[in-house]
């Protein structure tokens, strides 16, 4: 069945669709039940699947994660919502010390097939702590997968994959583009691969690599640059852990130039990782230094200045222009 949906609705569609197919899936989190989540990502699930499968928890993120791990060890498939990524920190001990390690620790005797969903990123003029993008912290943790969709279709397909994955997947939803784009989606139960980049636009002059809400800015920049006859290849990383360096490297080998765009702070961001890997593995292919367009190494300001913090398409255009001019 076809649905014309935004990213947020695609999340809801994937959840409902997969919960119908698999009775072992349960969802839990703060305000996900009657209220359907503060963004409505779990809207109507409580009505359809009942309180045993759609559980409002007490207010405690450590608990949400720890509980999910215990459930997952029994073969249930918990999908936990952390209301905003800025509130995931209390869950990190459980995620890092247990979710990511249980399979390895027990040599496969137990496992941890869970999904933790969280809206992330800035740009909606939200209160403090509601605009974080600290995906780099999770990308550094072996044993996790960290997936970030950037369109309704990829949200649908990747969330199905995350739910079916036998290992813990952190699923970060760029809330800034929750409602900004509608796409026709076939609710066909077909998952997209985790750990693979998506090449959204082919081009021969320069490679633009990004993820999440910054994909929109990147695509806008690529379009504008096409007018100046600069052909950008646009790659959506989609999984920041594990990173599909193969796709990125082969694109850079073709274009010889690379700009990486992300919203998170520059130092220690996932962009550094991609940049380092490219420089180390394709040094001789690079016709210009890699550029990174990122958030600053400072704290996301309160929302009145937030647009000064967030990279935008103009910044990307500037970086591309500069990279193209390098000789």
């Amino acid at each position: 069945m076809k649905h014309n949906v935004c990213l947020l609705e695609a999340v809801n569609l994937a959840l409902a669709s997969e919960m119908r197919r698999d009775e072992e899936i349960i969802t839990l989190g703060e305000d996900i039940g009657v209220n359907g989540g503060v963004f409505r990502a779990t809207d109507n699930l409580r009505d359809e699947f009942g309180v045993k499968r759609v559980m409002d928890t007490p207010l405690a993120e450590t608990m949400i994660a720890g509980l999910s791990i215990g459930m997952a060890s029994q073969g249930l498939k918990p999908i936990a919502e952390i209301q905003f990524m800025g509130f995931i920190f209390p869950a990190l001990e459980q995620i890092i010390c247990h979710a990511a390690r249980i399979r390895n620790r027990t040599r496969g005797r137990l496992s941890c097939p869970l999904v933790i969903r969280a809206p992330f990123g800035g740009g909606i003029h939200a209160p403090e702590h509601h605009s974080e993008s600290t995906e780099a912290l999770l990308a550094h943790i072996p044993g996790l997968k960290v997936v970030i969709p950037s369109s309704p279709a990829r949200a649908y397909g990747l969330l199905l994959a995350a739910i079916r994955d036998p290992d813990p997947v952190i699923f970060l939803e760029p809330k800034r583009i929750y409602r900004s784009q509608q796409q026709e989606i076939d609710d066909n139960a077909i998952a997209l691969p985790i750990g693979r980049c998506f090449t959204l636009k082919e081009g021969s002059d320069i490679t633009l690599v990004s993820w999440g809400a910054m994909i929109s800015e990147t695509l806008a920049a690529a379009e504008a640059l096409a007018d100046s006859n600069i052909k950008c290849e646009v790659i959506d990383v989609a999984s920041v852990n594990p990173l599909d360096m193969e796709t990125i490297l082969s694109s850079v080998k073709k274009t010889g130039r690379l700009v990486i765009i992300h919203e998170a702070a520059r130092s220690g961001g996932v962009g550094a990782d991609i940049s380092a890997s490219v420089a180390e593995n394709a040094l001789l292919d690079l016709q210009a230094p890699i550029a990174r367009v990122t958030g600053y190494d400072t704290i996301m300001p309160y929302f009145r200045l937030e647009n000064h913090y967030l990279p935008n398409s103009q910044d990307i255009i500037d970086a591309v222009t500069q990279t193209m001019e390098f000789v």
Partner: protein
């Protein structure tokens, strides 16, 4: 479960249910009423500003007036308030200018910088984290032998988070001069109290930490005054921490981003309005010949001007410079950030395509 019954002096109609304590002078009652009305008018204005795109997401204080105002009035100036995001009534009563409170909700860090905040903490957004700060502040008082106390508030939902219980625990074992106040307004966004905990009373959590704990009618300012004052006295006297569970009701949506009709029975709200704190205190004042219709009107007019002036000041406030993103990160700006700071300034001047000055939602 021990039997603790909510402390109450005034019933919902404003009738005495027991003799009032001496500390509740007419003066105090009128001051208290003043700040409760001020808080509520501030709230109305803030919501109006939000609805017209001039303020960010805002958490209404409606229904917390009888908790926050008496708490602030009981505190010494040099005590430290460690609030969560719903304590503007407390902040206002402590003397923070209204326009600075608005600045915070308008997405501007200067709202946390008001000189009048003295050593008070800014609003804690990550739930329950503030409880531990209060214990740290109280530890400092204790280490330095100062007769001061830290006062911290939290919601009913917040009491489920581990750090709140870690805070109670350390406050108990270290006998810290701290007062914990739970604003049990029955809801944590859409999650009702009975889903948070099977504790017969949230106050029982204090017992688990060896802390004297009590339930108080949080719509009764006199009961709150008594409870907080006693708790503060214990703190000043070196007798340690107290936990107060104030029973109230969130008369508003969770925030302006929330729609409580999705999850909350409307008759519950109706019943709650019958117990609301302003009416209760006003009725009592009237019964004592301390108040009448004309005084009420005069007060409303006075406060209305105050609030409007503050709102005007707030709206007229230009945004901080872009460099402010960098200037307060460290005491001494690191060299490493200088380049980014310079770039941010250039960028602000040339203007990225997406940039819209002062936009808010």
């Amino acid at each position: 479960m021990t039997s603790i019954h909510p402390l109450q002096y005034l019933d919902p109609e404003g009738n005495k249910t027991q003799d009032l304590p001496n500390t509740c002078t007419s003066d105090w009652l009128l001051r208290c009423y003043h700040f409760m009305v001020l808080s509520r008018q501030f709230d109305t204005k803030a919501i109006a500003l939000q609805r017209t795109g001039q303020l960010g997401t805002y958490a209404s204080l409606l229904g917390s007036e009888a908790i926050d105002v008496p708490t602030a009035l009981a505190m010494q100036k040099n005590d430290v308030l460690v609030p969560y995001y719903r304590n503007h009534a407390c902040q206002i009563t402590r003397g923070v200018p209204l326009e600075e409170v608005l600045l915070y909700w308008g997405g501007d860090e200067r709202g946390n910088a008001a000189e009048k905040m003295q050593q008070d903490f800014p609003n804690a957004v990550p739930i329950a984290t503030q409880s531990l700060h209060a214990c740290g502040v109280a530890s400092a008082f204790k280490i330095r032998n100062q007769k001061r106390a830290a006062v911290t508030l939290i919601g009913d939902g917040g009491t489920s988070k581990g750090d709140f219980m870690e805070a109670l625990n350390v406050a108990g074992v270290w006998q810290l001069p701290v007062v914990f106040i739970i604003n049990n307004n029955q809801w944590a966004i859409s999650v009702p109290r009975h889903i948070q905990s099977a504790a017969a009373q949230l106050a029982d959590k204090g017992l688990a930490a060896g802390i004297p704990s009590m339930q108080v009618d949080g719509n009764d300012p006199i009961a709150m005054q008594q409870a907080v004052q006693q708790a503060l006295n214990r703190a000043y006297e070196g007798k340690g921490a107290t936990l107060i569970e104030a029973i109230s009701y969130r008369l508003s949506d969770h925030t302006t981003a929330d729609d409580a009709t999705r999850y909350r029975p409307s008759d519950e709200l109706k019943v709650a309005w019958e117990k609301e704190p302003l009416k209760r205190l006003r009725n009592y004042l009237v019964s004592q010949q301390l108040w009448d219709e004309s005084k009420e009107q005069a007060l409303h007019e006075k406060i209305s001007t105050l609030v409007q002036t503050a709102a005007d000041k707030y709206v007229a406030m230009p945004p901080q410079p872009v460099s402010s993103m960098f200037d307060y990160l460290y005491f001494e700006p690191t060299e490493q950030l200088q380049e980014q700071r310079d770039w941010a300034e250039v960028r602000a001047m040339t203007g990225g395509s997406h940039y819209q000055e002062g936009e808010s939602s």
